[in-house]
Symmetry: C2
Subunit: 85 residues, 2 copies
């Protein structure tokens, strides 16, 4: 699930709903400034709702963005796996 501009609680509730429906693993992804929000979402989900989740597996990386004018910039990304045995 990609974290974007909506309030954190929207993502928390969406993830919570899917995992209550039986999903055992879900990956939260974000780029750039929304990385902080992705960490908030993961922390709220695992502390308040899916408290039987394993320790999160977290990966950070860099993506190259090619803009319309041909310029390239790098943006950091994060992936946080929320998993229940």
């Amino acid at each position: 699930m990609y974290i974007g501009k909506k309030p954190s609680m929207n993502y928390v509730l969406a993830i919570n709903t899917r995992m209550m429906e039986g999903l055992d693993e879900l990956t939260i992804k974000a780029r750039g400034k929304t990385i902080s929000k992705a960490v908030d979402v993961a922390e709220i989900v695992t502390n308040r709702f899916i408290t039987d989740a394993n320790d999160n597996q977290i990966k950070i990386s860099t993506e190259e963005i090619i803009h319309d004018d041909g310029n390239k910039t790098n943006v950091s990304t994060i992936e946080i796996v929320i998993k229940r045995d």
Copy 2:
């Protein structure tokens, strides 16, 4: 090393300097909105400078902040370990 309000490159250069001087392990820490910057710093350091670093070990957590008025809020934190064998 705590990531705060300075530009990312200040932290990148400080970390780079310490590791060039022989330090083999360093932990980048950040809270709240600066988490995104901490990921940028870790990515720039390991992609451009300390390219022989191991895969980062990353831990996320939540801290409670008690304000002057007694109110409590939670803030997410991140710790990224940059390590060289």
